[in-house]
Subunit: 338 residues, 2 copies
């Protein structure tokens, strides 16, 4: 049997109302009474039952964080960014991994709704789950902030990187190094940021009057494996001198493929990645990539969410686009081949 506010009240010879007031730091309490109650609370290690509290206050001091997979090294940064901010306001976070799998997304959604979280940070993937998501959310009026990946519906707040611009500057960098046969390895095509990054790539080519060759655009999976396979294709069949991988993980795969084929980076092949993962320092040569400030994105999203929670949903809706940055390291080099 856990100790409750009643026990404290009894011990202190006061009503539970008085104890409640002390707990919640309200005034209108005699300083003697307050001190005594505080002492007892300290002594017995009493902690208010947040479940019971939530019943009446209608808030749980809890948010839900839905991501594809913590094991993908991009997400832990976001997770920490979110957590560090909400913790400051004494919020706890429910973590749900969905693997971008529709049934898991729906399951998480169901749970999250039952748990009565005060808000949700959502990194969405599939379109179908999203319809359901929108239903659930609009039904229950839970504040939401989308993170990194948008929804076609613009009714939600969101924090994104300017993916098109990012794709543009990455490609431009390669063009400036006189590459004109630049392969591009994309992500799964239902993820919007992949499309946007690709658009940036196309824009840069067009602007520089380099003809777009469809064969140089190979679909990947945002995983090492996909990068590896795509790179083999690009290197063997298309003889590209540069590859823009739409995330670092796939760039890692490119390195592997290059090593196997005896293709030297950056001499024979320039590589640009996307994400600036912490551990791409391990690569030799170090990877030129786009930094999209994952931790900060998490922070910004969390702040937006807290603002929504505190002020209600009817504040001006908006999205924030963070500016990507090109980090030039040693995997890109002037094209001297053709």
């Amino acid at each position: 049997m856990n100790i409750t506010i009643k026990d404290i009240a009894k011990r202190a010879n006061v009503s539970i109302t008085t104890v409640s007031r002390v707990i919640n730091n309200q005034d209108g309490i005699g300083s003697d009474t307050r001190r005594k109650i505080l002492e007892i609370i300290e002594e017995v290690g009493y902690r208010p039952n947040s479940i019971a509290r939530s019943m009446v206050t209608k808030q749980t001091k809890t948010i839900g964080l839905i991501i594809p997979d913590v094991r993908n090294p991009f997400f832990p940064e976001l997770v920490r960014g979110v957590e560090d901010i909400v913790n400051q306001s004494n919020y706890s976070v429910f973590l749900y991994n969905t693997d971008g799998n529709e049934s898991k997304e729906l399951e998480s959604l169901r749970l999250i709704k039952e748990k009565k979280v005060d808000g949700i940070v959502y990194m969405c993937t599939y379109g179908k789950a999203n319809r359901k998501f929108q239903d659930v959310v609009s039904q229950s009026d839970i504040p939401v902030v989308l993170l990194d990946r948008g929804l076609d519906n613009k009714m939600f707040h969101g924090v994104y990187v300017n993916n098109e611009k990012a794709g543009y500057i990455a490609t431009k960098h390669l063009i400036d190094l006189h590459h004109n046969k630049i392969g591009c390895i994309t992500g799964p095509d239902h993820i919007m940021n992949s499309k946007e990054r690709l658009n940036g790539y196309l824009k840069a080519l067009t602007e520089s009057e380099i003809k777009v060759d469809k064969n140089l655009i190979v679909p990947g999976d945002y995983q090492m494996e996909g990068g590896y396979i795509a790179a083999k294709e690009l290197l063997v069949q298309e003889k590209v001198t540069a590859i823009f991988a739409l995330n670092d993980l796939m760039a890692f795969g490119v390195y592997q493929a290059a090593t196997e084929l005896g293709v030297r980076i950056p001499d024979d092949l320039s590589v640009v990645g996307f994400d600036n993962l912490k551990y791409n320092k391990l690569l030799n040569p170090k990877l030129t990539t786009i930094d999209q400030l994952a931790y900060q994105m998490g922070e910004v999203a969390a702040k937006m969410l807290l603002r929504q929670i505190n002020k209600g949903r009817d504040i001006v809706q908006h999205s924030i686009y963070l500016e990507p940055e090109l980090i030039v390291r040693n995997s890109t080099k002037e094209n001297t081949i053709c």
Copy 2:
């Protein structure tokens, strides 16, 4: 205003008891009544309020997972292992990152207690927070499983790797390759697994009658930076031919130091790590390391926790030690130098 069991009852012209029974799949309900209620529930998208439910059932279908930092690539594996198992039983997980920081650990503990989680998976760090932890836990009678890092007090269940054995086989591997000047980079000394791994190292040396040289044992921090600094010391001042880094992150630092000093791996220096992080495939040459099956550890811990939750705390207490495995790759080589 959210929709409640009352609304369903009203719509269906039955009592809330009947609805409750349908929700909880109890029998003794007319099949017509049941169907009708189910229909209405479906139609309006009703979901029981788990907060209210927890009030009466005394369980929240929620566990707390306390880790140092998701950004350390070892932990995401554990997190997923835990989550995947508990999700199967419809549990949600609260994630708390503590950075091994005492005040954060205590704060997480406070929150976790208030949240009335049904159980806790705890990767502990500091000794002081642990006393408090033990108080809190024994007070409130929450089932706990320790993960990866033990507590001096043996009152808890736990899942660990046999760290001493791991340290032993790693070192033995280097000895078998005729290394006799083997540096060891340790973790923070308040983390028990570091001590245990070091013991394995010492045991292997002693057993092979290699004199232990204190200067070859350099303290690290379980981060790349610490590995880098320690490796420089070992390479410049001690001229070791092999280094056993007590985790992969520090081994990464060793690679960096070696590169800077023009020391070739594995020709001039053999390196063994610990963790078998997914992304150490990126290293060139690939890292020989100890696999400690992080994902499985998470799974096992979660299963133990669920068993405790369901059967009560008074089941036989025990700890499980998983067997580490040496993964030989290309960072170790026969010593031909001396």
